[in-house]
Symmetry: C2
Subunit: 423 residues, 2 copies
């Protein structure tokens, strides 16, 4: 294999994991590492401190380096740094989902002009091989659906809320104590991290550029233990699902939100920090890939895997992996959440009077919504009752109209939650 | 992409599926197809009958063809045919697990001498991407364990035996009626098909040549409904498991047999004809790949995927995919089943006398076997009782000795079954 001379930008948990793993590969030399704080104490084995720099341009402009590993994260200043690196003809291996989601197509265009490869297996689902398989061995397929759990933090929180009846706040706190959630958990719990990954995954799966700004994104912060309990009683688990599908008219429905997933579905069985991706395509049918979606070790597997593929490809004559060059200049026509069709779970607090259930049924019917299950969960002290409704497939805008009408009614005290359902 | 001129050998279900899928790819031309019976009526769309032949050497010796798709199966006469094709510098895409398991290393050596590529994603687990990921994006890992369900027929039969309490014979008959099992089911139900796939998978995972003749192979024909029922009561499902592991001393433990799999394990949740492969490696951790393991459509996804990767690679200068050339000339040191360590399930029919359970415990203890669970399933009409024992991790040879001693005893009427357990 071709010998690679590598510069690493970012030396946190993942960067250190990558450096450690690279010690076993003789054909890869780490020439320089860009760190945030050059004076920080570091215990990393085999690390010659002289290769550290706090100026990433010392890597980007270094003629001895032919590949950049970027594990720093964020869009600024990384975009400019990598742009310069590509213009300097350096190949890129990155784990930066936010960068790819927000400015990936610009980078891929610059890379194409410069005959340079960008690989990013680690950007989606950590150690799970998914980008490379979609681009290579699965490329005979028309992939028409993705349903995935792409964020370990939220899956861990939801698992604990389900298993132990914990509140969202308590489960989050435990996740933070165990290192599964960051001090500022916003990016995870609001679904942004999942949306970044989904935009990358759906772009390569559907062969059209999916715009991150048009992905409807809803996190898990509004879920309460009552929802998780009701879901369980009805034969479901609640998961934060990244959903992407190609509709019969070619338009694309891509979104991130919590869903009630039938407990018979394999995704319902994926617990704790594990990630799982279901792809449906023709002719392959349904495939499910499950594994660790984060952490230094699984992520380093993907980063170094990309590097080794690169080394092996460069040996054949320095021409880019044809299948690894993205060609997604056609924009996907993404539909609005209001135009999607789903089965729904609606949790309502209503007056405990005999007409309430009938009233809910009438409003639903008026808005083209068929109810498949309705369940009343006891009676509260204030003489209200929690009523849970599961609908048949309905249009989101109809549901929103029905909820407006219900909210305005005297019998309905509160619409507690609206969730979508996957069977 | 490079234009491929393809010859197909074998035109049954899979061959026809591949031909159909290839219609959507302009850069791939099917030049000739070798069939068994040239006079058979065929309804395949877009098939020009003039490209059919019943002589595969017309493909192998055709200078217009640069890739052979082999989906005929079996070792003879296919080995000789493919050998000739390789000597004629044709690349090979094959789904033939028996051939690769029995004579793969000979073929790979000839391919290396002739600078020709053999790809075989479809040979293991149908449509599930597993060969290419192991050889490319996962190649930074040391894989040390495989546990997999690689045969849809047996998994279907076991699912029906578990869910519906069917006998093996009835479940097999239903599987045959639905086309999930062949008229002669031997290759599937005796575990041979699974063993072929495991030999390929463990060879590329462990980077040492695993000898198919040294894989202990036990099928599902001796399982009865009582075993499936007891397993369920104890919190397990019975699955035909392909197991491969690298032991701390570097020796390799590779075998195929039914196992009680804890119902919490994701493999226990894989039902019907679905296949699933768990790989454990460092640094990636556990990965699970699940999907359709057979059938014309999923298999054609892998065959045409291999073809498209080949086309894309050949474009870069006709040098073989470095990572796709097998280098497994070092033979694995495979241990004998007698030297393996497992937890066990033992089903015994014993006299219904108060000493029986104590006696079983004593014999186990004498043979270094600790019992973790012991369960008596009611009393039979002839005043015998079925006793089920689950042991802690024990050596297979100790278990075999204990069973011999138990068989010789008056209290023990019959050793009904011995199965291994995976938690």
């Amino acid at each position: 294999m071709e010998s690679l001379k590598v510069g690493i930008i970012g030396f946190g948990t993942v960067g250190t994991g990558v450096f450690k793993l690279l010690q076993s590969f003789n054909n890869i030399e780490v020439v320089k590492i860009a760190v945030k704080n050059i004076n920080k104490k570091r215990e990393t084995e085999n690390l010659n401190k002289e290769i550290l720099t706090d100026n990433p341009y010392e890597i980007v402009n270094n003629p001895d380096i032919n590949v950049i590993i970027e594990v720093a994260g964020g869009v600024n200043p990384i975009f400019d740094i990598l742009k310069k690196a590509i213009e300097n003809k350096k190949h890129i291996v990155t784990a930066n989902k936010e960068l790819l989601a927000k400015r990936g197509s610009e980078l891929f265009n610059i890379a194409r002009e410069n005959n340079v490869i960008i690989l990013y297996e680690a950007a989606v689902a950590g150690g799970i091989p998914i980008i490379m398989p979609i681009k290579t061995i699965l490329c005979a397929n028309k992939i028409n659906k993705i349903a995935a759990i792409l964020n370990g933090t939220t899956n861990y929180i939801l698992t604990k809320m389900t298993e132990k009846g914990l509140s969202y706040e308590t489960a989050l706190k435990q996740a933070q104590e165990l290192g599964y959630a960051e001090t500022d958990p916003t990016g995870d719990v609001e679904g942004y991290d999942t949306a970044y990954k989904l935009s990358i995954l759906s772009t390569i799966s559907f062969n059209k550029k999916v715009d991150i700004n048009k992905i409807y994104t809803e996190g898990i912060t509004k879920l309460n233990t009552r929802d998780l309990k009701s879901a369980k009683e009805l034969g479901y688990r609640i998961k934060l699902i990244a959903l992407g599908q190609v509709l019969p008219d070619g338009k694309i429905d891509v979104r991130v939100h919590p869903m009630l997933v039938s407990k018979k579905h394999l995704l319902a069985k994926v617990d704790n920090a594990t990630n799982s991706i279901m792809l449906s395509g023709y002719p392959v049918g349904d495939l499910i890939f499950t594994g660790a979606g984060a952490g230094a070790e699984p992520t380093s597997s993907s980063v170094v895997g990309d590097l080794l593929v690169l080394a092996s490809e460069l040996e054949t004559g320095n021409s880019p992996l044809p299948q690894a060059v993205c060609k997604h200049n056609e924009a996907a026509e993404q539909i609005n959440i209001a135009d999607t069709y789903n089965e729904y779970y609606i949790s309502i607090t209503a007056s405990n009077n005999p007409g309430a259930i009938g009233y809910i049924g009438t409003i639903c019917g008026k808005n083209n919504i068929n109810i498949s299950t309705i369940m009343q969960n006891g009676i509260n002290e204030d003489n209200t009752a929690e009523i849970v409704v599961i609908t048949e497939k309905s249009k989101e805008s109809d549901i929103q109209n029905a909820l407006k009408e219900l909210s305005a009614s005297e019998s309905v005290k509160n619409i507690n939650n609206l969730l979508r359902v996957m069977n």
